[in-house]
Symmetry: C2
Subunit: 737 residues, 2 copies
């Protein structure tokens, strides 16, 4: 007997609002820690659209249009919002950062650049006074001590404030946020991660954290802020409140806008969404929204113009020569290899430190840890000239070519100080690796992009300086034959080596490819050098993957926190025994409902005993369908009040023989669930979960239920190589099956 | 009873080469016009890898490694091959094109630039003689007549040669090739499209066609050439000959390399593969290969250095000012709208002309058509100054800003000739629209990218000139307040308007988004203007989609030729009645095999009567599994020779009661096929086909077969809006079900 399709998806064909019992399907209720069922969400979405379309006259035309309009409104507002926020955060960070060195004499709230904007180029800026000048300290040693004192104290104060804010008001505002966003976009439910408080604290804490000079960046957290913003805006519309799928489509666009603002890279934002968040695949509409949000965010950022350059390119590369020589591939590939190894090492170190933090006394004193780390970072960083400045300033200077008409940055262009510079650069890189591995994971908003770029840029510049030194020492060696014979013409551009180093290091840490290349050359404007950047990213990803099959730092953190997220890896069966049988939970270990057997009371006990998302319904062994917890609960509640009903048996299939003795639950049963045979290759099962965003697959053989596999089973299969899965449990109860 | 998984996938667990009967599964045999079964191909691939791994000792380690090495070898060689080919094609085209105007006095095979390379800048080049000088014609009118005569005659000769070559040796070398590549990558089998002959003729024909000055480009065909090259190289290895899936993974990388060379855009190539070919989705390994092939192809192209600039950027944009003003969004959005409408119109016109060609007398005289069209194009183009030069030269000049130190291109920078220039530019654009709509589809290799760029550039430059004129006329109007007050400083850059026009037009014709933006700014180097380019592409795609839901010119041609390709559109159910039931072919209309009923002779007749790819096997209504034509054929062949076997019944399921009277075919049955219930939403079915690359889905209800749906059913569902589906049938017999 064929069931009525309208019943299956609980459609009201007359276009009426469905009855309360039916609405439970409409707005599926998910608690934090559960995984949404995409197919069910999409079915609900379809249902809603169909009801709208079925309305008579103008309403039927206008309602779907309003839906689309609301979606675009939120996308556009999010774009504008994150663009403006990003711009003003930059201004705030610049001011706080400058405050560590001095203040403007005619106004406390001006940063150094604004304060000195009235001064003609070449003249000294008297309006900006360092703290020693401000306090009238003129003796050399006392001056230095005052400087380092203010520098360290303000660093500790900023970082401490950020940690207190995070700890007290929004624990989810710590860390980068990208692992959580990846998990959420994949279907994980974590509403507390997106609250307005988190938005506020993450934004404010981020500015403080960056200004404190800790080894962290604003990029990842900005993506989180953008997502919070989209979520906040979406709350105003019922359409999004009721649909987890719609929310996620919005969040994907917001994440793209966040990257767009973080790097000034609108195209990179879209590609980040495409490659790293893996949400746009085959959903052209979602990509399209990301594209729009990204472009609008970039325009808004340009409108704020936080750097006064009216450009989006943050670290402009000035390439004297647009050409590069074949022999340069040797140092560049070397940088790729170093980036791959060091990136992998950084990931491992970071994971170890995170585990140590969780299992040691530090776990109880997160704020103290932040204060201590910031004091140590500030004190040590102050000693080395390259690490004293903010990372973004360091990177911008390392990317610059030497130009006699410009100020030489800390003697980087002095050919006689080559060894000294190389030593200092490598020292800075090593320090930053250690600091970053520690900082990324503390109770403070922290991104890993900028520190990674800084490490890579230091190493790259060092390699560039060495290559240049080699060329100066042996200008006639055969390897340098392709250089112009005139020694005054530059052959090797160490600034560009820094860009290559940054690419390689980022490749090693994040294991991104295309989006990374696009972000990098939108960041630097080095379009003519796209090939070397591609090659170094390729090399570092290759080496990194060979060195540690970890899939990048975000995948590691997802595994550490045990989110049910499926990495987009190509899972491969290792033998013929790798079938669904191995993966599934067999019938014996499943909690199933027996048709026409369990009573209302039985089912109530079942719901109390097990917190699964739903239960398969069988008659003997024959699989009838699936019933979700939500539906069962709302159907049981009225029946439990009535004593005569409580002992009746529940019938889920519509049979002609149904009697008065039974309760008819046939409307609850979802019959059109995905079924496979257990003999299918494991690879295919994994692939279906990855591509179709499934929550579970039921295995049947000729109609008989044999087992079931859920998303979390697949996630743990894919993470089986990682020894510390869920070592930093997310603390949320996880009713996954 | 659970079947043995090893039997299901025909594994030989001892690691031996399987018996001949089993090998049929290994190397599935597909004829042109059929669709491959990805799941089966991947199963075969798994099987092969597992056999390799099962080998003892070093062999078990080395064999999989060799597999990977061969794959990379082909990828790298293809990259190098297409890079060099692309470079040399450019050189050939340049020489042939220059030949239409004159020749080098000291050597016939030098083009104009090489011929004059010895001359100092500023001096006239005496070595290059126009045809009138060469033949000693000095009288004005005779000179002009001689020029136009040689110009037209050579155009006709080149185009005619190309058409004869294509018609006689490789009919598949006509057109762009991208629709076919999209279909092939989606699983369509069309081996004759990738033969070495096609490679040779397409390459040679392309050079001739481009040099003839017809309104066509080399971009699409180069992608085809790259794919032919990869296919040719893959033929040397059994690994690829036997696996359609592996071949397609190679072709995807080759296509990316082709785009990389065509536009000098390595990143654009990868993104083209991602967005337009839609093959890399979720298959990071395939994207990765595309990345490598693309980079290597670009390096090879740079090595050939066909333009003598040692740059990859083909149409360098020289932006005097890096900033743009908000009011410019008005003309740019206008260009976006024009691009969307005109692009949509061009598609419609092209489809109409293609249909007219097929149904009129032209169908029988393809070479004559090419000759006629090239004569008309050459004669008319010669009259207008902008259309006389090759499209690439025109585009390069239109993208240039006016610069007093450089030669003014045909008075474009003359402010007094504004109206004249605008008129000529619009005239050129209109002419090119008509010519392109006609040319794209003739019996000649032809790409649509370059003509589209040229049309857009003309329109963009015209709009730019108008805006500039407006600014000159009313410099103090409020709308121009953001312009610098000094009139000698340029406020509006008409060259950049040409870039925007080209983006908008390309957006309208191809409906690509991200890859288009990347290609455009790799093509022009206009990184600082990525936002306006994004906005205009957005606008034109929006308008184009609103104006005609056609999914771009390639999707239209795929539909015209009736390839079973699934457009990556978001299919939406329109109501509750949209379920699998509506889509599937019901049991009554299926050709099924009845277990233990059909005799060997019956099955032989079945195979002769129906050319389906496979047949469902049932016992009464219960679905047992699927058996493919190939397997059945090879199992039947020996039995048919034996008279005593011919009348035996065939048993597909392993039952204890099987007797001597039956032939045991249980090894042929694939039991682990994908089954759905027919009540699932149509949207889900379409989605599964799109994402999982399926060939068919079997519908069962509690074990009973109810129907089946194949890829071609889904393809025709998605193309149901298009009135001319398969109007230009591909001429290949299509055994799709």
């Amino acid at each position: 007997m064929r069931p009525d399709p309208a019943e299956l998806f609980e459609l009201t064909e007359d276009g009426q609002v469905p009855s309360p019992a039916r609405q439970t399907h409409f707005a599926s209720h998910y608690v934090d820690g559960s995984t949404i069922d995409w197919l069910r969400e999409e079915a609900a979405e379809r249902e809603r659209t169909n009801i709208q379309r079925a309305q008579f006259g103008v309403r039927g035309l206008l309602l779907p249009w309003f839906d689309a309009a609301r979606m675009w409104l939120v996308v556009i507002l999010t774009g504008i919002g994150i663009g403006l926020t990003g711009g003003w955060l930059d201004v705030l960070v610049k001011w706080l950062g400058d405050l560590r060195e001095g203040r403007c004499s005619y106004g406390f709230f001006y940063n150094q650049v604004t304060c000195c904007s009235g001064v003609k180029p070449g003249e000294p800026c008297t309006e900006w006074s360092t703290w020693s000048k401000f306090f009238g300290v003129n003796v050399g040693l006392a001056q230095s001590l005052l400087h380092i004192f203010v520098y360290v104290v303000l660093a500790v104060a900023f970082a401490g404030c950020a940690a207190v804010l995070v700890k007290s008001y929004a624990p989810y505002a710590f860390h980068t946020g990208i692992p959580e966003i990846k998990a959420i976009l994949g279907g994980y439910v974590l509403t507390s991660f997106l609250t307005p408080w988190t938005l506020l604290i993450k934004g404010l804490g981020l500015a403080l954290a960056v200004a404190s000079g800790l080894s962290l960046g604003k990029e990842g957290p900005l993506v989180h802020v953008a997502c919070c913003m989209a979520f906040l805006l979406s709350r105003f519309f019922k359409q999004f409140r009721n649909s987890q799928a719609q929310q996620r489509k919005l969040l994907a666009a917001a994440a793209a806008a966040g990257v767009s603002v973080a790097f000034g890279s609108p195209l990179g934002g879209v590609l980040f969404g495409l490659e790293e968040l893996d949400t746009f695949a085959n959903e052209s509409e979602v990509m399209w929204r990301g594209f729009v949000a990204s472009a609008i965010a970039a325009v808004s950022l340009q409108y704020v113009n936080p750097f006064g350059t009216s450009k989006l390119v943050l670290f402009q590369v000035t390439n004297g020569s647009d050409t590069w020589r074949a022999f340069e591939l040797i140092p560049w590939l070397t940088l790729g290899v170093i980036g791959g190894i060091l990136g992998s090492l950084l990931i491992k170190l970071n994971v170890e430190i995170a585990l140590y933090r969780r299992n040691s006394v530090l776990n109880d004193w997160p704020i103290l840890e932040v204060v201590g780390a910031s004091a140590i970072t500030a004190a040590i960083s102050y000693l080395v000239v390259f690490s004293r400045v903010q990372s973004s300033e360091l990177v911008a200077n390392l990317f610059q070519e030497c130009d006699p008409t410009k100020i030489d940055y800390h003697g980087l262009c002095n050919p006689t100080a080559m060894w000294e510079n190389v030593f200092l650069l490598i020292l800075t890189a090593v320090m930053k690796v250690l600091f970053t591995a520690w900082t990324f994971g503390m109770m403070i908003p922290a991104g890993i992009f900028l520190p990674t770029i800084a490490i890579g840029a230091c190493l790259g510049r060092a390699v560039g300086l060495l290559t240049q030194g080699l060329h100066r020492a042996y200008p006639t060696a055969w390897i340098f034959l392709s250089c112009p014979p005139d020694p005054s013409v530059r052959c090797i551009s160490p600034g560009f080596y820094a860009v290559i180093g940054a690419s390689a290091m980022l490749g090693g840490v994040t294991r991104m490819t295309i989006s990374l290349v696009v972000i990098l050359f939108e960041l630097t404007g080095a379009l003519s050098h796209v090939l070397p950047i591609m090659i170094s990213v390729m090399a570092s990803k290759w080496v990194g993957d060979a060195f540690g099959k970890d899939g990048g730092i975000y995948a590691q953190w997802i595994a550490l926190r045990g989110y049910p997220w499926l990495p987009p890896v190509d899972f491969e069966d290792r033998g013929a025994q790798d079938t669904g049988t191995q993966l599934m939970r067999p019938l014996e270990r499943l909690v199933v409902i027996e048709d026409e057997w369990n009573t209302v009371l039985d089912l109530d006990t079942l719901l109390k005993d097990y917190d699964f998302h739903g239960f398969p319904v069988v008659r003997r062994e024959e699989f009838l369908g699936f019933v979700t917890r939500d539906k069962l609960r709302s159907a049981l509640t009225p029946l439990l009040l009535d004593d005569s009903e409580r002992t009746k048996r529940c019938a889920f299939s519509r049979r002609l023989s149904s009697t008065e003795e039974q309760v008819d639950f046939s409307g609850l049963l979802e019959e059109a669930v995905l079924q496979l045979r257990e003999e299918v290759p494991k690879e295919l099962v994994v692939n279906m979960f990855q591509k179709m965003n499934l929550r579970q697959i039921v295995f049947t053989t000729r109609g008989r239920l044999t087992g079931m596999v859920t998303k979390s089973d697949v996630a743990s299969l894919l993470n089986c190589d990682f020894p510390h899965t869920a070592a930093l449990g997310s603390g949320v109860r996880r009713p996954w099956a």
